[in-house]
């Protein structure tokens, strides 16, 4: 199957006695957009962090475009062409928007002119021009999320992993983020961990539901939403 970009088999992770991730088989095809949902503590971030190399799985294997990447350090996985945003926003607070994006661009462009051009391109694409010389620490939450998305897309990744990209965003910001994600998805496969069901509904095609460290269900949007078990475990949550 040449068009599989990501595959895991029997992926597990324990934290002491806690089984955070339990024997997960997962498959993602080129240019697919997949949302991971599930209640708090379901193991979404643990699964996500195993993929990115931020934590090592206790058991199982991960393959990306045919390479086994299990246990690789995060910079090696990123260098394959994987764009990553973790659940906790992670930007260079003491640097400006331009400097942040430049650092992402410089990883992929040896010549500083090329890096500079790419930086300007991304800043223009995200309409961040007016604040390009402001420090990240001085920006609003939504703008910082946007810059982080810029960091993720600068390297033209073929696989994009996003843990809660819409968390804490205003409705307008969410619309904007949704548009950008669709744009990125034109060239990259994507996994998005998300709680906000409205947001998921606005972007999703296929959905994987995590529950207690396992994959409970994997199906199209509408079928997942009407599944009684999914409704049960989400009861009481803001939908």
């Amino acid at each position: 199957m040449p068009d599989v970009v990501l595959e895991t088999s029997g992926l597990s992770r324990h934290f002491g006695g806690v089984v955070a991730l339990d024997n997960v088989d997962f498959l993602l095809r080129a240019r697919e957009l997949r949302c991971l949902i599930g209640p708090n503590g379901a193991g979404k971030s643990t699964f996500f962090n195993c993929l990115t190399g931020l934590i090592r799985p206790s058991e199982g294997h991960i393959f990306m475009r045919g390479d086994e990447t299990t246990g690789w350090p995060v910079h090696r996985i990123a260098s394959l062409g994987v764009g990553i945003k973790t659940q906790v926003p992670s930007v260079m607070d003491g640097l400006t928007v331009h400097e942040n994006i430049w650092l992402a661009a410089s990883r992929h462009h040896r010549h500083s002119d090329d890096a500079e051009r790419r930086t300007d391109e991304i800043i223009a694409r995200l309409s961040l021009g007016p604040m390009s010389h402001q420090f990240l620490a001085h920006l609003a939450h939504g703008e910082r999320q946007l810059v982080e998305l810029g960091l993720v897309m600068t390297g033209d990744p073929w696989l994009v992993l996003l843990d809660e990209p819409a968390a804490g965003m205003s409705p307008e910001d969410m619309v904007r983020i949704g548009e950008i994600l669709r744009e990125i998805n034109e060239t990259a496969a994507m996994i998005i961990v998300e709680h906000d069901m409205k947001f998921v509904r606005s972007i999703a095609s296929r959905i994987t539901v995590f529950h207690q460290g396992r994959v409970l269900l994997e199906d199209e949007m509408e079928r997942v939403m009407s599944d009684p078990t999914v409704r049960d475990i989400y009861l009481g949550r803001t939908a």
Binding site: H75, A78, S90, M92, L95, L151
Partner: protein
């Protein structure tokens, strides 16, 4: 910045004797090495004195064995850099947290202090050099014109060599910080995880920066050996380790000028206080440190920069931007 450095270097000997100035230039270089590693790289090294001491000892041992200064100087810097590379790789590839790194670097320094102090016996001889325990190593050949071992460089000439080395190191550090490597190092200081997620090998880059910092400290150490004409375990002492950090905090981390001016001014003050017995100099140093931390938490140079920028507040925004970047 170099344009200012050169005239200052030439004028200073008219005001302060060159023997004192020499050691101030050396201290400034040592502080700059920590300023690079800690201030720009975010590596909390509490043991910069270890590399200073190793550079000094390396020079003394090398000079006694080859009977000549050029090779000894180069070998001292290279050997220290190699040791730092190994130590750095162990710490950074071992994913040590900031606090543990600080502790380990300090412990390494204290171990070197203990070890060098206990090398009085006949067993501790490296070639023609006796390590000499607490009394250290005296009587090694000092700096001379390369290729001419009888043309010693001392007095005013040694000052000019040290000052020129400082200016050269400052210029190289400036170039390094403007390069891609330097900008990435600052990115790592700001957010290590993020830089890893962007595909940068944080461990390798930190190891390299740590090694470069150690090499600069070692050069300062080798020059110090020439100034003092003796090396002793005190170079690895707790006082020396703490002083480097105090210089940088007073002058201001995150700038190049801060550590240099911090080291030179605190070093000179210590020298002045050493000439009287009315007040204890550690007390005064401590007091200055506390006052700076309380009232100028970013240090003297950033505070002065702030004033300078405030004075230019009315400038058009674009000109300001350029000015700020030049200052950084």
């Amino acid at each position: 910045m170099t344009a200012v450095a050169v005239p200052v270097t030439l004028v200073l000997p008219q005001v302060i004797d060159s023997y004192t100035l020499t050691v101030l230039a050396i201290y400034a270089m040592l502080a700059l090495s920590l300023g690079l590693v800690w201030g720009y790289g975010g590596i909390l090294c509490f043991g910069q004195a270890a590399f200073f001491g190793l550079g000094a000892y390396g020079y003394a041992i090398g000079a006694l064995n080859v009977g000549e200064s050029t090779i000894a100087l180069i070998a001292a810097v290279a050997a220290t850099a190699a040791i730092a590379a190994v130590l750095g790789a162990m710490m950074f590839y071992g994913r040590l947290g900031d606090v543990y790194l600080a502790i380990i670097t300090l412990v390494v320094t204290l171990i070197l202090y203990r070890f060098m102090s206990s090398t009085a016996g006949d067993a501790y001889v490296l070639g023609k050099a006796r390590l000499g325990g607490f009394n250290g190593i005296p009587g090694f050949p000092t700096l001379h014109v390369p290729g001419n071992p009888s043309a010693y460089i001392w007095g005013d000439a040694l000052y000019y060599v040290c000052a020129a080395s400082l200016v050269l190191v400052l210029a190289l550090v400036t170039l390094l910080l403007r390069s891609g490597f330097g900008r990435v190092a600052v990115g790592i200081r700001e957010n290590e995880t993020r830089m890893g997620l962007l595909g940068y090998d944080v461990r390798a880059r930190k190891t390299l920066l740590f090694t470069i910092g150690a090499a600069v400290a070692a050069l300062a150490g080798a020059l110090y050996a020439n100034w003092g004409e003796i090396v002793t375990p005190r170079l690895f002492g707790l006082t020396q380790s703490a002083e480097i950090i105090i210089w940088c905090i007073v002058g201001g981390f995150g700038t190049r000028l801060g550590p240099i001016l911090g080291a030179a001014s605190m070093g000179y003050l210590k020298f002045l206080l050493g000439q009287q017995s009315l007040v204890d100099n550690t007390l005064v140093m401590g007091l200055i440190l506390i006052l700076v931390v309380l009232f100028l938490p970013r240090g003297l140079v950033p505070a002065l920069e702030g004033l300078w920028i405030a004075a230019w507040q009315r400038m058009p925004a674009r000109q300001m931007q350029r000015r700020r970047r030049n200052l950084a």
